[in-house]
């Protein structure tokens, strides 16, 4: 039901609860933004005081010292290629799992799902040995190949979304003589636009922020990604807070931009009968 029609107390309660939750959720990030402008020592000794001046020094230092230009180039390239690949590959697979009836379908679906249940930590070492055996050690291609294999969640979610598309639309199209692929592209895809945007956003985040696989595969600084770059500010025994918060501040912008671009798509609705944004 439309929010406007909620009972007044329910409305107030909803706002209160939402605002409280929002404050809790945003607190760490607000703290981060505040700390960016503070001196390194002040960040730890007086963490909740307001910054005395609006100095961008931390950000500038972090960018230079951390060679963020290279890190961004690598991270963005890897993320874009991988996410694009995932959407294509898993989109096709999800369609098959949700709409086609082929022998062994359920078994294959469980196989595709099973990867989600294995902690990445135990495949780290075997995967490293495999990549080395293929001669791809310390390359960005190795990372892309790994990310392209992250099928489970995408297949799961896209399939769920496709299953919510009413059969009647599909049947009408089939009666009209359309082939499977055509149905996929012209009927299912537009209606699942929001799901694709969701999966795209989520995977962008996961891949961009992934620390484990770059740690394992990459050794040369030229192939490093942003998360590896962040970790260099945790020295052996001291943490360089000023650089670190500056670096975190730098690192969050690409994902925020991606979210900004895709959020409209995520909340778009496409029901049979027309587009509703």
């Amino acid at each position: 039901m439309k929010f406007a029609r909620y009972a007044p107390w329910t409305k107030v309660g909803s706002y209160v609860w939402l605002i409280l939750l929002a404050v809790v959720v945003i607190a760490p990030l607000a703290w981060l933004t505040m700390s960016v402008f503070k001196d390194s020592n002040a960040i730890v000794t007086t963490p909740f005081s307001l910054p005395t001046s609006f100095s961008w020094q931390n950000v500038v230092d972090a960018w230079n010292v951390g060679s963020f230009a290279i890190l961004f180039k690598n991270s963005i390239l890897i993320t874009v290629v991988s996410v694009f690949g995932i959407l294509v590959l898993e989109g096709l697979a999800a369609y098959a799992f949700s709409r086609l009836n082929f022998p062994g379908r359920n078994i294959w679906f469980v196989i595709f799902l099973a990867g989600q249940f294995v902690p990445a930590q135990i495949i780290a070492l075997p995967s490293f040995l495999q990549i080395n055996a293929l001669g791809l050690g310390d390359t960005q291609l190795a990372l892309i190949l790994q990310y392209l294999s992250w099928a489970p969640f995408a297949v799961l979610f896209l399939r769920a979304s496709m299953m919510s598309v009413p059969r009647e639309i599909e049947e009408a199209a089939m009666i009209d003589g359309a082939g499977r692929l055509r149905i996929l592209f012209q009927v299912i895809l537009p209606m699942c636009r929001s799901a694709f945007a969701t999966v795209g956003t989520i995977y962008s985040l996961w891949i961009y922020n992934d620390f484990l696989f770059p740690l394992i595969y990459v050794r040369s600084p030229e192939n490093a990604t942003v998360p590896l770059g962040l970790s260099q500010f945790q020295g052996l025994f001291t943490t360089f807070w000023g650089y670190l918060v500056g670096a975190i501040f730098i690192a969050v912008w690409p994902p925020l931009i991606v979210y900004g671009l895709l959020s409209r798509q995520i909340s778009s609705r496409f029901i049979a009968g027309g587009v509703k944004a």
């Binding site: 730890v44 000794t45 390239l77 694009f84 001669g135 310390d138 050794r219 025994f237 360089f240």
Partner: protein, 459 residues
């Protein structure tokens, strides 16, 4: 889209395939392009005149210092060095070194902690035997400790790039003066605790610890066990979990060791409130901003002091003597950073690097930059440290090493003991002692059992 016929475009099936194929192709090409961009794969020793050097000098200051060293070496020898800094958290760095050395293109050289990490790598056959280098070009340059924790079966598998003194106690003289406490009050453990108790009663913070991170508590156990057993026996005890056939004359369940664990409990009332939940990074800053009197931390703390100069009068002491213990108050704990070499590296290049590194001028600069003591012969008066406070403190630390004598040093427990044992029983155990989850004699028994099991596995 038209309600009646959703398929009112003229996109044919073939068209779709073409489109899909095109997309896949372009994605593939982009991926290949990414792989081919310069910077992918620099092999160990690939191409004449390059050494790849994996290390954990990743924070801004250390990275600069290491790069300076490599550049100077390149200038002198013509051999290039690829500086491969890695994230330096212990939990991720040591596994990264193991991985790197078991891959098909290992780095030429790498830094690593001494002890079982190196023994394991040596046993696996992935390291270069450095005995001939140590006895050859470097003969006469090595001091005691240069190969500590890197010798196995009479062979040398690594050379130190510097040692830290681990059992230091940093002092805020101004803070203590407020409570009428001075260095002379730290004669031994008993008097030290007594002085700190007085401070706590007066409402002050005598000492801080970042116990949440577990290893700070491990340090205290290290210091106390060494004071109770003496360096030789402590080393004998630690070796039982990593050296095949090590004698078991010293046991974890010995009286002195259990007493050491009980000594640690004496600190509970004097640590800051909530110490079990505090991170060591926070306590570093708490101390450096003048909010505590004492701080137990190794000599690497000098880099932290350089980063955040304290505004108070800062001094350093060695961990005090424990009355009734077999060790003296002069014995030091060493944390040794060792350089290991891959079996696949170019021996000649490596030899040149070590030769260059152990030259007195190089050593003097390296020591001053990194606040570390490389165990080789050089003129310590040539070490340049700009800041007078840091210079004084570094001199104090070096004096500790010098005064300790030949038998007065032991490796850190978290370098000397098998990693599974020290993380589970020493690190976590130190927390458990404080939280009351494990009693000193229980912990001792657990350690003894685990050590016996480890020794059995070795045989």
């Amino acid at each position: 889209m038209n309600d009646n016929n959703p398929l009112n475009t003229s996109l044919t099936r073939r068209g779709v395939f073409r489109l899909g194929g095109g997309i896949a192709l372009s994605a593939g090409m982009t991926a290949l392009l990414a792989a081919c961009t310069p910077g992918s794969a620099s092999g160990g020793g690939a191409g004449s005149g390059t050494l790849t050097f994996m290390n954990r000098w990743s924070d801004p200051t250390s990275k600069k210092n290491a790069q300076a060293l490599f550049d100077a070496f390149t200038k002198s020898s013509g051999i290039k060095v690829a500086n491969q800094t890695q994230p330096s958290s212990g939990d991720t760095y040591q596994p990264a070194v193991r991985n790197a050395f078991s891959s098909s293109n290992p780095p030429s050289m790498a830094t690593d902690i001494s002890g079982p990490e190196i023994y394991n790598l040596a046993k696996a056959g992935v390291l270069m035997d450095l005995t001939s280098i140590a006895n050859g070009k470097l003969k006469g340059r090595l001091q005691a400790g240069a190969t500590a924790g890197a010798e196995l079966d009479g062979k040398v598998w690594g050379l130190s790039d510097g040692a830290n003194v681990g059992n230091c106690v940093w002092v805020n003289h101004d803070y203590l003066a407020k409570y009428k406490v001075s260095d002379s009050d730290v004669k031994d453990l008993e008097s030290w605790i007594a002085a700190m108790t007085e401070i706590k009663k007066a409402g002050g913070t005598p000492v801080v610890i970042g116990a949440k991170d577990q290893w700070p508590g491990g340090h205290y156990l290290n210091d106390l066990v060494q004071r109770r057993l003496g360096s030789t026996n402590a080393t004998a005890l630690y070796n039982r979990s990593v050296v095949k056939g090590a004698p078991d004359t010293v046991k974890w369940t010995d009286d002195q060791v259990v007493k050491a664990f009980e000594d640690y409990l004496l600190f509970k009332p004097v640590f800051q409130d909530g110490f079990l939940g505090e991170a060591s990074a926070t306590t570093d800053s708490l101390f450096l901003s003048g909010q505590a009197g004492f701080y137990e931390m190794g000599s690497w703390f000098l880099s932290g002091i350089r980063q955040n100069k304290p505004s108070f009068d800062i001094g350093v002491l060695l961990f005090p003597e424990v009355t009734g213990g077999k060790g003296t108050g002069k014995e030091v704990t060493l944390g040794n950073d060792t350089i290991i070499v891959s079996a696949k590296a170019d021996k000649d290049h490596v030899e040149q690097f070590f030769e260059y590194f152990t030259e007195p001028a190089t050593l003097a600069k390296w020591a001053g930059d990194q606040f570390i003591a490389p165990p080789y012969n050089y003129d310590t008066s040539k070490v340049k440290i700009a800041d007078s406070t840091l210079k004084g403190l570094f001199a104090d630390v070096n004096k500790f090493s010098a005064d300790a004598g030949p038998d007065g040093a032991a490796l850190f427990n978290d370098q000397a003991i098998d990693v599974n044992i020290y993380t589970k029983y020493i690190w976590q155990g130190s927390v458990g002692l404080m939280s009351g989850d494990v009693a000193p004699d229980q912990l001792a028994q657990q350690l003894e059992d685990a050590t016996v099991a480890a020794q059995e596995k070795l045989s």
